[in-house]
């Protein structure tokens, strides 16, 4: 049964219906003669409030609103990957086919291609008892990813009939299930899931595996766990989007969901173009084969911006249920928060800080808590990692979105305006950033990289901290007045900053660096420090040490040593030894 209501007022994306229309909270509704998509966000006995996901100009009081009977949901089936959707999972390429270069209103296209035949391998047989979330078939969705068709998480029963392996569309029935109450149900590849409800799991695991990104400052200094949460706050032009792109390209997640929330249209185009050309070093397939884009650019309707984050998250959870490690790039959560603020303002709610609604914090926490390393209903293990960019107003980290986000994420990569001005990228500041995952991940690093890894990492950070306090003095009296051991700290910190932390995203070798090379670089820098320190303690002045080009040589290791020639590090160690000997020889 569908309910209908009548529009009585329109204020931007918010419309009011007179009286109680019989709609349910968060139900999807169709608004007006163009059937614009909307969602019920408030009910009283006198009026119903609906937010509309499309441009409302031209709507009139008196037009009807009809219910759809289900909450705002996403369609889950093969065809999600290598695709670009808007905030409510409408494929933009299909919209382009019907609407041309611009996005029109009231376009109704299916989320996924219902005609396409998928090669299907059935993994269950007649008589099997299936539990909720059980995998029933495998479909090679892209060359990189096998899509595992699952039973919806709220269904179980006996298989009483099943089709042969073959080619099926997403709406063809694959099997008939006898439910516990005796009734029969045909199961297809497609499920629908409401975007605001987390998909159920069996249990959560503690963080234990890092998400390897190939970015040195992240992997070594401030690592993120699979199933973890991180935020990247930074003023405009400090490289939030670049950092997100780098992680989306090179991280070892199986699936990337990239949500462009209120950002630039050209950026989405760039991701689309670039990711179709770039090849994933692990699988050898184009990166788009493991990627889904959700685009609600800054000029697209604001209500859909609010929904886009949840749509992306639900897609991510769906792939997690198949046993994949999924990483979500949300760029930018500030625009999402501003969408909340805009809608809240239109609803004339009481504002809290800077006009943001008081429920900002609880919405943010509910969002980030959907991340995690999970044991799924079907027993597989998968994870959802959330990396949210934050665009603080005026680059000021004390504003509400940054502050509230900081409370709910465990990894903070603070971008710094001065570093960006110097074109030191990634401009993640080593003193303001932190990662709470470091202790959780230490055993993994010891086992998989080197047992000295964590110790070395801490020594790097210690040197950088010392440098920062020495720089305070240098600013007052100049660097020449410092004693030699402190000059050495400055010199070696420069090697760390330029040779290690700075990473060139446009350089073939430097854009993604394996853990082993990261460790060897650290090892070599600390070896150079050790040798130089013993020279300084013998009374050699820094000016003599700096005559040797060894410092500059080690800085350019990132370019000079290819990622597959790690044997070259032995030679560099010898060069450090030669440097040590020659300084002693010349000054003995």
């Amino acid at each position: 049964m569908t309910n209908t209501g009548t529009i009585s007022g329109i204020n931007g994306p918010v419309i009011y219906l007179k009286g109680d229309s019989g709609f349910r909270m968060n139900e999807m509704v169709y608004v007006g003669k163009d059937h614009l998509v909307g969602e019920v966000i408030g009910l009283t006995d006198r009026r119903t409030i609906v937010q509309v996901y499309e441009e409302t100009s031209g709507l009139k009081p008196g037009e009807t609103v009809s219910s759809s009977g289900f909450p705002v949901s996403v369609t889950l089936a093969p065809g999600i990957l290598n695709n670009i959707f808007d905030g409510i999972e409408r494929p933009l390429s299909e919209i382009a086919k019907t609407g041309g270069a611009y996005i029109d209103r009231g376009i109704h296209v299916d989320s996924l291609d219902g005609e396409k035949l998928w090669k299907t391998h059935i993994t269950v047989k007649k008589g099997d008892h299936l539990f909720p979330g059980a995998i029933i078939a495998e479909v090679p969705e892209t060359p990189a990813i096998v899509h595992k068709v699952m039973l919806p998480p709220d269904m179980e029963g006996y298989v009483i009939d099943v089709v042969e392996d073959g080619s099926y569309t997403i709406s063809d029935p694959l099997l008939t299930l006898q439910l516990p109450d005796g009734s029969e149900k045909k199961i297809t590849m497609t499920q629908k899931w409401p975007i605001r409800v987390p998909r159920p799991i069996l249990k959560r695991y503690p963080a234990g595996k890092p998400l390897i990104t190939g970015q040195r400052i992240i992997d070594t200094l401030f690592p993120l766990a699979k199933g973890g949460t991180a935020c990247i706050p930074g003023g405009f032009g400090t490289g939030k989007t670049m950092t997100q792109h780098q992680i989306a390209k090179w991280s070892d997640a199986d699936i990337i969901i990239y949500i462009g929330c209120g950002e630039r249209g050209n950026e989405m185009t760039q991701v689309l173009e670039e990711f179709s050309e770039l090849v994933d070093p692990r699988s050898g397939n184009p990166l788009m084969d493991r990627t889904t884009l959700i685009a609600n650019t800054s000029n697209m309707p604001v209500a859909a911006r609010e929904a886009s984050l949840y749509s992306g998250l639900t897609l991510a959870e769906y792939y997690r249920d198949m046993g994949y490690h999924v990483a979500i790039m949300a760029d930018s959560t500030s625009r999402w928060a501003e969408a909340l603020r805009e809608l809240s303002g239109r609803l004339e709610e009481m504002p809290a800080e800077e006009g943001f609604p008081a429920y900002l914090a609880s919405r943010l926490s509910a969002f980030y808590e959907r991340a995690g390393m999970m044991q799924n209903m079907n027993g597989t293990e998968g994870s959802v990692t959330i990396i949210g960019a934050v665009s603080p107003q005026g680059g000021d980290f004390s504003e509400p979105v940054t502050q509230n986000t900081k409370r709910f994420v465990r990894c903070f990569w603070g971008l710094d305006r001065n570093l960006a001005n110097e074109r030191h990228f990634p401009a993640i500041h080593w003193l303001s950033s932190y990662s709470e995952y470091l202790t959780d991940l230490a055993p993994w690093y010891v086992e998989h990289v080197d047992k000295k890894f964590v110790d070395y990492r801490n020594r790097l950070v210690f040197l950088l901290t010392q440098e920062s306090s020495l720089m305070e003095i240098v600013k007052l009296i100049g660097g020449d007045m410092l004693p030699d051991d402190q000059k050495l700290i400055l010199e070696i910190s420069k090697v760390i900053r330029i040779g290690f932390l700075q990473q060139n995203a446009f350089h073939k070798e430097d854009t993604c660096v394996p853990m082993e090379k990261q460790f060897k670089m650290m090892d070599l820098i600390l070896y150079l420090y050790k040798k130089s320190r013993s020279l300084v303690s013998m009374g050699m002045p820094m000016s003599v040490l700096k005559e040797d080009p060894i410092f500059d040589k080690i800085i350019s290791i990132k370019y000079d040593v290819p990622n597959d020639r790690l044997d070259m590090f032995d030679d560099y160690k010898k060069q450090v030894d030669t440097f040590y000997d020659s300084v002693i020889e010349r000054n003995a």
Partner: protein, 467 residues
């Protein structure tokens, strides 16, 4: 047949309330006739049952509760567009004010535009030669980009914008062969500023290719909210339907945002930062995002919005939100202006996000990116050296810091401060860049690949210096 409604139930600043209307649509345009003489246009910004709140474009002076007839037009604000609009001057809502008659065209477009589908966008890659070293070398302008100028009151942003228009239109590929045109929108600017642009366009002989939309400082505030939309509608039409390359100059975005605040506060909305409405970001984005290139169409829309930062504060909401939407920014600096450096571009906070894909081999020259990174990095160190010199005195500086001071001075005077009339090609710009890097020892240059350094680096000394 259209119904006319007599009278209003309230007037508050630029907003009026009309009750008892039938069939009023959200965002619809209404025509108001005051005492059967003056016509004004208005837009419905909120409807509730039979009550409509209308924003009046030409101001509410002269309106009384009983002397107004209102007629619903049944459609959102539209603009008749045509190629003949080039060479003409219009007011803030797109009506001709140059006395050359109306624009006759059957094509009427909704001025609000529609969002471009990211799938149909083409990623911009062709650079526009502006002839200005700081821009071409360090924050290259790309066709289809939106690159604002962040300025302050009294700084020469108008001269800079005019120079970009002149030199870009004189460029190798612009006016002569391909269709190049300028759409100029002035919002709340002084008469002198509008006149300056008019004269400059005439003097440089491009005025036949310019459509000007002028809303002066004393014109109605609400009109200002329409001006950029009208201008961009024409720009999109010329670019995507007629295949022209359009450069849109929007000045002054600060006046636009202030108009938005004024209207928002008279609507009684909840303000966010500094009294600006919470949707300032969305509003600005709906303008800036109308730049771009569409697949399989020839033209492009490039935007150079100009905004004056209140109190030179880059963290003020207007420059701040703009910076989050646009693809970079050109920041002018009062200090450099005081030292007679023209154009006074402070390169450190300036940026072009699209630059990386539009330069280098095949576009400009292979060493461009490395050189630009190195210049940025070295100039950043100049700041440190100057700070130190102001504490301990220049004489006490280490030799390398002294070299940085020399580099900084030369960089500002030669590379940035090229003067009003210099039109440099990209090779000249890069050559000057390498000469400047030559003032520093090679070991300081850590951003450039060794091979590139081998090819281009040559130590230079200043004439008349001690070395």
């Amino acid at each position: 047949m259209a119904i006319e409604y007599l009278g209003l139930s309230a007037i508050n600043g630029p907003l009026v309330v009309l009750e008892g209307v039938q069939n009023a649509a959200f965002d619809e345009i209404v025509e108001m006739t005051v005492e059967k003489k003056t016509k004004k246009l208005g837009r419905i910004i909120e409807v509730y049952e039979d009550k409509a709140i209308i924003q009046v474009f030409e101001g509410t002076d002269g309106l009384a509760l009983r002397n107004v007839h209102t007629r619903l037009t049944g459609h959102p604000m539209e603009l008749a567009v045509s190629e003949d609009m080039l060479g003409r001057t219009f007011n803030g809502i797109g009506e001709p004010i140059d006395g050359l008659g109306d624009i006759s065209s059957d094509i009427r477009l909704d001025i609000n535009g529609k969002p471009l589908n990211p799938v149909t966008r083409e990623y911009p890659r062709d650079y526009i030669r502006t002839g200005i070293s700081a821009i071409d070398g360090l924050m290259t302008l790309i066709r289809g980009q939106k690159l604002p100028i962040f300025s302050g009151n009294g700084l020469p942003h108008d001269e800079l914008a005019a120079q970009i228009v002149q030199q870009a239109s004189l460029g190798d590929d612009a006016l002569s062969s391909e269709k190049f045109a300028v759409v100029f929108a002035a919002m709340g600017v002084k008469y002198d500023v509008a006149d300056f642009f008019r004269r400059t366009f005439e003097e440089s002989g491009v005025s036949d290719h310019v459509a000007m939309f002028i809303n002066l400082a004393n014109d109605p505030v609400v009109e200002r909210l329409i001006t950029p939309k009208v201008a961009l509608t024409l720009a999109e039409y010329l670019a995507f339907e007629k295949g022209m390359h359009i450069l849109v100059i929007l000045t002054d975005m600060t006046a636009y945002a202030e108009a938005l605040r004024e209207v928002s506060s008279s609507k009684g909305e909840i303000p966010s930062r500094k009294g600006y409405p919470g949707y300032l970001y969305s509003e600005l984005a709906s303008l800036y995002e109308r730049a771009g290139i569409v697949k399989d169409r020839h033209g492009s829309v490039t935007q150079i919005p100009i905004l004056t930062m209140p109190n030179d504060d880059i963290t003020h909401p207007i420059p701040d939100l703009t910076g989050y939407i646009t693809e970079g920014q050109i920041v002018l600096d009062r200090n450099l202006f005081g030292q007679s450096v023209y154009p006074p571009i402070n390169v450190l906070p300036s940026l072009s996000r699209l630059m990386k894909d539009g330069i280098g081999e095949g576009f400009t020259r292979a060493d461009h990116q490395g050189l630009a990174n190195q210049l940025f990095s070295c100039y950043a160190k100049v700041g440190d050296a100057r700070a130190l010199a102001s504490v301990i005195g220049e004489d006490e500086l280490s030799p390398i810091d002294k070299k940085y001071l020399v580099f900084g001075k030369e960089f500002e005077n030669r590379f940035v401060g090229q003067g009003n009339h210099a039109n440099r090609n990209i090779i000249e710009t890069l050559t000057i860049g390498w000469e400047l890097l030559g003032l520093l020892p090679r070991a300081e240059l850590d951003r450039i690949d060794t091979k590139v350094l081998d090819q281009y680096y040559k130590p230079t000394t200043l004439e008349g210096s001690e070395e």
